[in-house]
Symmetry: C2
C-alpha cells in the first residue's frame, strides 16, 4: 500500500441552504478543494451521501457530481454507510489510490436535508437503524440513543448535567468556525433548561441537522511538495450488529474499539500521542462512548474527561475543535468529511482561537447508525 496524502480541502457553511441545490452545495466544496490543491482534474470521484434518493429524488450521486463539476469522463461512485458515509467514501478513495490504479481522487461528503420537513427527515434517518426490528417498532434514531444514555446514567451513576461539558466545549469552539451552523454560547444552566427531545436527551445533547458539503483531494504522498504535508497514517473500519438490542453490551462501541486499535497499529501510535480527536458527538452520550472505546477513558468514565476540562483546545485531549457535530452541525453523509477537513486545518495550523498548539497527529472517528459502522482515520504531518 503506497502512502497517500491530502493535498486540498474545501467546505461549505452548514446551514438551511434553501437557495442552494444539492448540486451547488457539493460542487462548491469540490471546487474549493480543487482550488486548494491547485488541480483542475482528478482521476476519480467518491461521494459520501445517505439521503439524496429520499430527500432530492436523486440517486447515482457519483456521476451526478462528476457531470456537474466537469469531470465528464472520470469514474465516479457513491458510498453509503448512514452517518458514516463521509469517512467511508474517503476510505474507498484511499484504497483506489493506495492500490496504484488511481492517481488522484476527489472525495465529497454532501447532504441536503432541510428540503424536507422534520417528520420526513426523522423517518429518513430511521433507515440507518434496523428497519425490521427497530424502526418497525416506531423508535426514532434519537429514541435509540436516549435508551442508551439512560442505561449509561443508571449503570455508571452520572447525572444529566455531567454531560454538559461536551455541549459547552463544542459550542465554544464553533464560535470561531465560520462554517459552523450554530454560533451560540452554552452554559450549564442553558444546558439543563433546554427542551427535552427524548428523555434524557435534550436539545443541547443533540446535534442539529443541516445542509452542507466538505471535500478533499488525495494523491500519492510522494507527489506532494506542499508543507506541511498531511498524510493518511491510518484508515480502519469495523462493524457491530445493526440493532442496538442485539449487542451483548449496548454501552460499548465494539466497532470504535476495533477500528481505533487497528488505526493505532497502522499508524504506529498510542492514544496518548493523539493531539486532537474529532469524534462523532451526534448525541452527548456518543462522545462519552467514543472516548471510552477508543482508549481515552475507562468504561463509564468518558464524561469525566469533560468534567476535568481535558477536551478543550488547551486540554489534554482536545475534541470537536471546530464545533463537532453538536455545533458545527451534522449533515449526515457529509459529517465524516467535515471531520477530516477539520483535522487537516488543525495540522496546517489554520484554526485561530481553537488551534491546538503544535498539533502533529489528529484522529477522526465517524459513526454510522447507533455505533453499527465505525471508521477511524489518523492523519499526521509527515515532512
Amino acid at each position: 500500500m503506497r502512502k497517500v496524502a491530502i493535498l486540498g480541502i474545501g467546505q461549505t457553511k452548514i446551514d438551511e441552504h434553501w437557495n442552494k441545490s444539492l448540486r451547488e452545495l457539493g460542487g462548491e466544496a469540490a471546487f474549493l478543494a480543487m482550488q486548494d490543491a491547485g488541480m483542475d482534474k482528478v482521476d476519480a470521484l467518491y461521494v459520501g451521501n445517505m439521503l439524496s434518493s429520499m430527500v432530492s429524488g436523486q440517486n447515482q450521486l457519483g456521476t451526478f457530481f462528476s457531470d456537474w463539476i466537469g469531470l465528464w469522463k472520470q469514474e465516479a461512485v457513491k458510498i453509503e454507510a448512514a452517518c458514516g458515509s463521509g469517512a467511508a467514501a474517503l476510505r474507498s478513495a484511499l484504497m483506489a489510490v493506495a492500490s496504484g490504479d488511481v492517481e488522484s481522487a476527489l472525495v465529497v461528503g454532501v447532504e441536503k436535508m432541510t428540503d424536507k420537513a422534520g417528520r420526513d427527515i426523522t423517518a429518513a434517518l430511521a433507515t440507518a437503524a434496523d428497519a425490521d426490528y427497530e424502526a418497525e417498532q416506531g423508535v426514532s434514531f434519537v429514541g435509540l440513543n436516549a435508551l442508551v444514555m439512560r442505561r449509561y446514567m443508571r449503570e455508571f451513576s452520572w447525572k444529566h448535567e455531567d454531560f454538559a461539558p461536551f455541549s459547552i466545549n463544542a459550542h465554544a469552539n464553533a464560535m470561531h468556525n465560520p462554517y459552523a451552523r450554530l454560533h451560540e454560547k452554552v452554559t450549564v444552566e442553558k444546558f439543563e433548561k433546554s427542551s427535552m427531545v427524548a428523555t434524557p436527551i435534550n436539545l443541547l445533547d443533540a446535534s442539529p441537522v443541516g445542509d452542507g458539503a466538505a471535500a478533499v483531494i488525495i494523491v500519492p504522498a510522494e507527489k506532494v511538495t506542499r508543507k506541511p504535508r498531511v498524510v493518511i497514517a491510518a484508515s480502519a473500519a469495523a462493524t457491530d450488529t445493526i440493532a442496538v438490542h442485539s449487542r451483548r453490551d449496548p454501552l460499548f462501541l465494539q466497532a470504535a474499539y476495533l477500528s481505533s486499535r487497528k488505526a493505532y497499529d497502522m499508524a504506529g501510535v498510542s492514544p496518548d500521542q493523539i493531539d486532537l480527536f474529532e469524534l462523532h458527538d451526534a448525541f452527548s452520550i456518543m462522545a462519552a462512548l467514543s472516548l471510552e472505546a477508543s482508549g481515552f477513558a475507562e468504561r463509564g468514565q468518558g464524561v469525566r474527561l469533560g468534567l476535568e476540562n481535558a477536551i478543550s483546545p488547551q486540554g489534554r485531549l482536545p475534541v470537536c475543535t471546530r464545533g463537532g457535530l453538536k455545533a458545527r452541525g451534522h449533515p449526515v453523509g457529509a459529517t465524516g468529511m467535515y471531520q477530516i477537513v477539520e483535522v487537516v486545518q488543525q495540522l496546517r495550523g489554520e484554526c485561530g482561537k481553537t488551534q491546538v498548539d503544535g498539533a502533529k497527529i489528529g484522529m477522526a472517528q465517524n459513526i454510522g447508525g447507533s455505533g453499527a459502522t465505525i471508521l477511524t482515520h489518523i492523519l499526521r504531518i509527515d515532512d
Copy 2:
C-alpha cells in the same frame, strides 16, 4: 496492484420473492459464495444496491448484511451507482484487495423490488436519471430509452423487428438457466406483437424487474489453488453526463467506449479475443449501443450482430449467455454481480447447453442510468 481472483460465486433465482426478505435474499447469495469458496469468514463486505432505502426503508446495507451473515466485526459498506451498483461494488472491493489492505472480500449485489407497486418502482428507478432536468419533466426511465431508440432507428434506418434477435437470444439462453426469471421462448412474431411500453420499446425490448442477489468472494490470486483459476484481468469505470440531453451524441455510449478501451489495455487483449460478453441489455437498444461503443460493431451497426446470428452461444461473440437482463431479469443493484457470476460460470465450463466452447476470456459491462456510469470487467482463466 496485486492480481486478484474470484474464488467463490453464489446467486439466487430472480423472481417475485414475496416470501423472502431483503436480508434473506442477500444472505442466501452470500452463503452460497462462501460455501463455493470454502470460506466462513472474510475481511470485508461490499454491497451493491440502489433502492433499499426507498423500497425497504433500510439504509446502511453494508452493516445490515455483515450483521445478518455473522461477519460482526468486519468492515462493510454499500456502493451505489444506480443500475451499475453491482459492478461498482466489485470494483471497490477489488481496489481494497489489490491495495493489500484487505485479504479477502465478499461482494453482494442485491435488490428487492417487488415489495412496491409498479408505479412506485417506476418513480424509484427515475432517481437514476437527472432529478432536476429529466425526472422533473415526467419522463420515466423507459421513456428516456425510447427516445434514444427512436432516434437510432431513424438515424441508421433500422426497423423495430431488426432488434428482435437480442430478445430471442436472451430468452433462448435463459431457458437453460435455473436462476433466470423468465423461461419463455420468443419468436420474431411474438416480439412484434408484444404490448407497447413506450414507443418504440415494447415488452419484449425491455428487461423485467425482480428480486435477486448474486455474490462473489475475491482474494489475492496467489492464494488460489482451485482450477481453473479465474482472475480479474481488468476493471475500469467511466462516466458521461447524467442527463441524456446533455450529450453531444446521445447515440454513443462514451463511458462504454472509455471503460472498455481501458479494460482492453489493462488486460492486454483486443475485442476479438473476448470469448463472451455479458452486456447490459436493460432495453434492446442498449445492447446495440454497448456492442458499438465496446468495439464489436461500427456506429449504427450493433443490431447487425444479432441479425447475423453472431451473438448466440455458438456465434462469433456470444452475449447474454445466461439470459441477460432481458430474460434472466434485472434486479437493478444486483445485475452487475449476476453478470460477473455468469462469466465465472462460463470460464469454469458450468453452463451446459449455453456453454461457450473453450471460453477463456469473458467480459461484463454494467450500466448505471442512461449510459451515465459504465463499468467494464474482463475475467480470464489464468492457471
